[in-house]
Symmetry: C2
Subunit: 130 residues, 2 copies
């Protein structure tokens, strides 16, 4: 059985992929892959996703320069989530210019909860995409 | 705006949730939450998911004892993925008795690729669910 046939793509032909920084262990982002994106990721060791909004392959960093070098590809027990270990070029994965897309944390106090931004903007998005 | 209204649930009312071990930084599992599961997770600091197969709330560890104490809840930039920092009771998150559900890694050599199991079974699933 081909390795890619063990991956369970959903009804839209997609599987979620988590990118984790190999150095810090931080979760940088979650995006989607179709079969072609996953195959190209494995072949080139560069993260390639499927952009659901643009409906095309999204070679991470193709516009921003923030590519991801992939050192490991993992699959979960039921085969429907991919986990990539990556080295993040420029130290910025998020389109907002932050290291991680998970830059909001729920703060709870006195029975109230709200999302607090915990991460600094490291790179100006304006300059990142021009 | 209520914090939970900033979470983008999909057409089925679900959002994927990643559980990351706060000590090791390892990704333990990915599951789904509906609004009720997320609210209960935040209220109780115990991970509660929505079981798509059983179509009911799944209080992680309710059968196996492998509960997850939640120390942080994060949200990504487009609001459609939750990241939990957890302390995994028993050190086992996967129903196969392994620490992590991501126990397979793609091994590539001589142009061939295959999934290799990299994690030991720490607890016998037979005893875990009886």
């Amino acid at each position: 059985m081909n390795w890619i046939d063990e991956v369970v793509f959903d009804a839209d032909g997609l599987v979620p992929a988590i990118a984790q920084d190999g150095q810090s262990g931080r979760i940088l982002m979650v995006a989607w892959m179709n079969r072609e994106a996953l195959q190209e990721t494995v072949d080139t060791h560069r993260a390639v996703y499927w952009s659901r909004s643009r409906k095309r392959l999204w070679r991470k960093g193709e516009e921003s320069g923030n590519t991801q070098q992939v050192s490991a590809v993992r699959l979960d027990c039921d085969g429907d989530v991919i986990l990539l270990t990556v080295e993040q070029a420029g130290g910025v994965a998020c389109h907002t210019g932050r290291e991680s897309c998970f830059f909001r944390e729920l703060a709870q106090a006195d029975g109230l909860a709200e999302w607090k931004v915990t991460d600094a903007v490291l790179k100006d998005p304006e300059t990142m995409y021009k």
